[in-house]
């Protein structure tokens, strides 16, 4: 059981599992051309060794680099669960080849948590009840964070449009919109 009160974890904390990069496949043959490269993820240079070049950025983050926060729910860029920032642009990491992300600066949901605490966006999601099953939430957090950084005074309609590529099946979006308003309010209060 986790030390965190009331939080059940499944096997172990996958984010601290460094063994993922050692995963053995594939063997070097003509059907699986391999590549070795570095990815810059959340300020760290992470090596990817002998990986099949067909792997998506999402797959490499999740299965090779121990960063499973970004989720896969559709593998065709429709649901937004895999949203990450690539050189500051919001992308669906399922639709980016990992080997194409070399030289890019990547930020995932794991990189949005400052100093072990929650960011204001993350805290607002918790406090407004925006989280139910939570599967869409990492992508939502990345998308809402990106919107508020680019467009701090976005209207609710602009916000709904901005996250319309992020599907949530549990909440009906009402509490997610409320979380957005909370962050805007808090940031406005902090400036005042």
């Amino acid at each position: 059981m986790s030390d965190d009160p009331g939080v059940s974890d499944a096997l172990h904390d996958p984010t601290t599992d460094d063994s993922r990069g050692a995963q053995g496949f594939p063997r070097p043959d003509g059907d699986f051309p391999l590549a070795t490269y570095l990815l810059s993820v959340n300020g760290r240079e992470l090596p990817v060794d002998d990986a099949w070049i067909g792997e998506s950025l999402l797959y490499v983050l999740r299965e090779r680099l121990g960063q499973p926060g970004s989720k896969n729910a559709c593998e065709q860029g429709e649901c937004g669960s895999c949203s990450v920032l690539m050189d500051g642009a919001l992308v669906a990491s399922c639709c980016v080849l990992a080997a194409d992300a070399v030289d890019a600066t990547l930020t995932t949901v794991e990189g949005l948590t400052g100093g072990g605490g929650l960011s204001d966006v993350q805290r607002a999601f918790v406090e407004q009840g925006a989280v139910q099953c939570g599967f869409c939430i990492p992508g939502m957090i990345v998308a809402v964070t990106d919107l508020l950084d680019r467009s701090p005074a976005a209207s609710e309609l602009e916000m709904r449009e901005a996250i319309s590529g992020n599907l949530c099946r549990c909440t009906g979006y009402g509490r997610i919109v409320a979380a957005f308003h909370q962050v805007q309010q808090e940031r406005a209060d902090a400036r005042a």
């Binding site: 009331g6 974890d9 499944a10 067909g54 990492p138």
Partner: protein, 763 residues
Amino acid sequence: MPAPSQPATFTRRRRPPGLGESVLRPDAPPKVTGEFAFSSDLHLDNMVWGKTVRSPHPAARIVSIDIGPALAMPGVHAVVTQDDLWGSRTYGLEHHDQPVFAHDVVRFHGEPIAAVAADHPELAARACAAITIEYDVLEPLVDAERAITAPPIHPDGNVFRHITLRHGDPEATGDVVVEGTYEVGMQDQAFLGPESGLAVPSEDGGVELYVATQWLHVDRDQIAACLNLPREKVRLSLAGTGGAFGGREDLSMQIHACLLALVTGRPVKMVYSREESFFGHVHRHPARIWFRHHARRDGTLVNVESRMVFDGGAYASSSTAVIANATCFAAGPYRVPNAKIDGWAVRTNNPPCGAMRGFGAVQTSFAAEAQMDKLAAALDMDPLELRLRNALRTHDQLLTGQVIIGVAPVEECIRACAELPMPPAAEPDADLMTLPGGAGRTALPHNVRRGVGFAVGFKNLAFSEGFDDYSSARVRLELGADGEPVAIVHVATAEVGQGFVTLAQQIARAELGVGTVLLHPADTQVGSAGSTSASRQTMVSGGAVQMACAGVREVVLERAALDLHLAPADMVLGDGEVTTKDGTSRVSLAEALRAGPVEAYREFHHAPTEPLDENGQGNAHWSFAFAAHRAVVDVDEELGLVRVVQMATAQDVGKALNPLAVTGQIEGGIAQGLGLAVMEEIVVADGRIRNPSFTDYLLPTPLDMPPVVQTWIEQPERGVPYGAKGVGEPPTISSTGAIVAAIRAATGRPLTRIPVRPDDIAL
């Protein structure tokens, strides 16, 4: 409660808030940081990847299967088919009629035939493609009505269940009669977290499975039977579950992954793709429903006649219970003295259907509420007035003859919903994005018409028809490392997003007066909690936790009373201490626990129910929940485009134990009702799913989903823990009907089929 889309404010308090307060989810912080491990996030060093081979045909004989080329591929560790199963070759929730792997006959598009384990998911996919299967393709049986009399496509026949419901004088006639035939398309649960899990072979020859599911114990029993293992050698733990909505009540990858783990001796991870997910779980039954309503001239309902056919697809799943709900609640929450209803759930070569939020009540509610509007028009009566005149109350009879003894605030729901504020009128210079169809220069403001619609729905809570529906809880109170009391709650309740983890903590805090409540991971090392479905966990697992806490409290009071030379009856357990009722003496909880931890294990069984008799009569249900919905829509009639402007609802919740969680359940449930009304349908042609992706199966986005105005009717239900009713399903039952009624009001079109398509409006 919070206003739509506006942030709630929370008072910071020293003591953790208890029942009836908007307590925050304990799993929300790890979910917002990405740390929370979902079933697709699991990893072990030497694991291999499993993948399923599926039939491209909805009906075929399998002539031969050649797994050789796949097995020969380097990095492929196993290929399994039915020949490798050493236990039961079939499984199922109620009837074991579904093969783990199709062997001689394929009965639906996407039916599993084999599974492979390989070093890499791409290699597993290529291995699946390398398996050669020769088929003798058959003509699929795809017409549900024809299935009733068609030659059987399964040894168990084509009719899963035919319910004949006869109530009062089934031939009674009224002064005014309205008739209609309605259709419901196939909806998908579309939970975002795909079917997935990790199976690990254990040293005793058994298997451990970490999986996203709705009911650990019923999964375990089916896996154990198919692998011919004793139940205790099949250990399941709940992995992070990315939504469910009924779609995880049946097995998907569970047996395949466990079998591959036993065959390879290695951990096996399986994660469905979205496309595979559409083939890999049951859907909401498509239905064709005929109704004839009879009423007196004053609007009093006299008789409701109905014949309905629900397409269950290839295998039984929970079809027999779905059709029972569809018939039992067919007429909606109204007093109907006479009824003549025939409901069939049948087998076809279409995709299997089973549980989805609302479970049978959704389909008939859409049709019956359309009938109520039609009847109101025929009577020249206000549709709300007609509903109020016939609204069910406590002590009224259902169509099944059962007398409602619990709370039934139908009238209150209708009135409260009607009183909720309307949205502002459409503005001529409104943002283009708010027009039907969005900003793509499609709808023109002067073509847009506004409509308002209303619908009311209800269904049973928890399981019915004589099922012994229960949940188990073990609660332990002990001193933590810091010397402070800690409660540990162990339940097998599947947390799928609904928030039982929060409620379990609230209950334990309230019952035991402790600040720290830890939840043991849900697994099969404790008794069954039953399914996370039928809106039942707040009531049934909530009841089990409450009872186990009461058992612990009893022992704590005895200990304290012994210390003070008093009787336990003189003592109360309060906030971290036991006091005498007059407050003169006290023992701290920590003191009482110094003699050792206190543990109690209890089961909550809801009041017994009866099977339906041959006329569909009987006290088959335990408790009921009601809701009214109002929809405001804008429609561009020429383009057939709809934008839902506002949803309003009043829901019978008994007692809201966590207002924030109730708010979220209602908003989320309405979003799924909106989807069924105007966009969501699995398109099946000749037995084949044509749109198994989120590109082609459309889900409501934040731009499709309007603000929800909600209010609750809080009348505590007796015999239910804290008087709280389950809240998950009512939002999904009549929200669909309200939206379609609003589109009818805007367009004058009959709209007898959901989802409503543009050409239903524009052509």
